[in-house]
Amino acid sequence: MPDDLINSFLNGPDENGRFGDFGGRFVSETLMPLILELEKQYDFAKTDPEFWAEMDWLWKHYVGRPSPLYFAERLTEHCGGAKIYLKRDELNHTGAHKINNVLGQIILARRMGKTRIIAETGAGQHGVATATVCAKFGLKCVVYMGAHDVERQKPNVFRMRLLGAEVVPVTSGRGTLKDAMNDALRDWVTNVRDTFYCIGTVAGPHPYPAMVRDFQAIIGQEAKAQMQEQEGRLPDTIIAAIGGGSNAMGLFHPFLDDKEVRIIGVEAGGKGVDDKMQHCASLTGGRPGVLHGNRTYLLQDEDGQILEGFSISAGLDYPGIGPEHAWLHDTGRAEYVAITDREALDAFQLCCALEGIIPALEPSHALAHVLKIAPELPKDHIICMNMCGRGDKDIFAVAEHLGVQM
């Protein structure tokens, strides 16, 4: 769609939950009444000052917002080009951006009278955030996690159990994040009357993609104000990593109508985006399809069977992407690139060495792309990257890849 046909990129989704052709409500009939009820509740909450007052209070006193916008001086020097700023969402309570969204959904769940919360998790960050907020509010919490991820993310599994959550290892299908999401949906369809499904990313049936985006948009809103404070202007380029795409959507959304701001999403290229399909780059290497309640770009074979993603980062290991990203991709408003495991690992180490920040593997992908483009850009060009999670959870995986025995 040519740029001049769109008045604003902030109007999506439409009343059917569509961003252009993407999004929608592709769920079984059992779930439809609940999804419509959720939409109603969310529409009300969106403009309810009491709802946002509660969110603001929790964001400030429980999560520790606003997160700093930090000028990464030594990374900037190292690159010798654009100024690099990091939005420090890794400093949030529980160590990632995930909790921004979980708080919003749990407040809604309480308003809807739901007493049992379910969630899916890959790396465990969304699971930990959900278990945390459930503990705070005294709600029963069940987290579905691929059996393979339970094995490789033991510290987060233990955290969730400490927080009182039941962690269910998922062995159906191939036991990965998408199978965890399938099993969460199966639980939901079975326990629809008392259960709220707290989805961790900007995907799933409408209204989840829009709702999760709105809860994460605090990232971009803060970044915009902080950049004005520190530089007196908007950044030239904003960058974030994408699995399902919630941290990226949160950073991007408040900037969508600032047409002079270049927007770049970084997908997980795994071992390389080629015909071997050992990656999770849905936009770079997939095509449109329907899964988990929405139409979006998916990794799939010619028969429409879903393929497994592959990435060093369990948090990016999903064969789809949020529908709004699919739309921003097709309209050309945002660019999407892929970074390999190797490049992400190099960026991870450089960030530790130069900034004293151990990043999660997910934002290490975004940082790797920053390191690629910053040297070519002028010194007055400003890049803002979302450091969406800290790397404590990843040190075992990184050690293994570096051949270090712990």
């Binding site: 592709f26 009939e29 439809m32 079975t190 326990n191 399809g289 899964l291 799939q300 028969d303 429409g304």
Partner: protein, 263 residues
């Protein structure tokens, strides 16, 4: 009039309830699956529900998930599933076949192309779990225009305000899902199902068939007695999982059909 409409007209004339049997296409391979499907009408199956394998069957329990995986591992695709129907039609021109599955393989093939091929192969109706009325423009309306029935699921959460919307573009029959849950899970109870079926029948002239949680001839009879028929899926597919010979599976199907027909 489709084969589905003809079948219900015949059953009505005979004063009988319908028995609908589900099997997964290509489980465990094309030839064995074709043998099984060919044997279903003689075992008393009035309408064949043929599962279209998919990697991510969100509404199905473990039994049907595993059947789909076996079929996919055996090389089953949408094209091969249609081929199976074509082969079945060589020897049976009357038994309706309803394809049941998820939208992505159909979307991936392209809706117009799929509808043309499905019709040519001899499919009579579609049940697509992840297409609620809100998404009717995707496949439901084009399918009806192409002369295929689009059979909708109604569930215990489909309340009075929503029911008209669910019934609006439904044809062939209404599939009432007896429990909130996945296939092969909780047991259906005729005492709970009866009033729900009555509620739906008050709002439509279409036959109402009940599925999910029916696994014995007795339950098939009890459920069929409060509806226009009963569906059994997981209990049949389980025998495929146990690698039972086709003759054994058909013998079990016969007892289920007798149960439903005795209602």
């Amino acid at each position: 009039m489709t084969r589905i409409d003809d079948t219900f007209a015949r059953l009505k004339a005979e004063g009988k309830k319908a028995f609908v049997g589900y099997v997964m296409a290509g489980d465990p391979d094309f030839d064995a699956s074709l043998d099984l499907v060919r044997g279903l009408p003689a075992a008393g199956v009035d309408i064949i529900e043929l599962g279209l394998p998919f990697t991510d069957p969100m509404a199905d329990g473990p039994t049907i998930q595993l059947a789909g995986q076996r079929a996919l591992e055996g090389g089953m695709t949408l094209a091969r599933t249609l081929e199976l129907v074509r082969r079945f039609r060589e020897t049976d021109a009357v038994t309706p076949i309803v394809l049941m599955g998820y939208y992505n393989p159909i979307y991936s093939r392209g809706v117009p192309r799929f509808l043309e091929e499905a019709k040519a192969a001899g499919i009579d109706g579609l049940i697509v779990v992840d297409l609620p009325p809100e998404e009717d423009a995707e496949l439901c309306l084009p399918a009806q225009a192409a002369g295929l029935n689009f059979i909708r699921l109604a569930t215990p959460t489909t309340d009075a305000t929503r029911l008209p919307r669910v019934l609006q573009n439904t044809s062939g029959f209404v599939y009432y899902v007896s429990v909130t849950g996945i296939t092969g899970a909780a047991a259906a109870v005729a005492g709970d199902v009866g009033p729900e079926v009555a509620r739906i029948k008050a709002a439509t002239d279409l036959p109402v068939i009940v599925g999910f949680g029916i696994r014995s001839p007795e339950t098939a009879r009890d459920i069929a007695s409060v509806a226009d028929g009963a569906v059994v899926g997981s209990a049949i597919v389980k025998l495929c999982e146990d690698q039972r010979p086709v003759a054994d599976i058909l013998a079990f199907v016969r007892t289920l059909a007798q149960g439903a027909h005795s209602a």
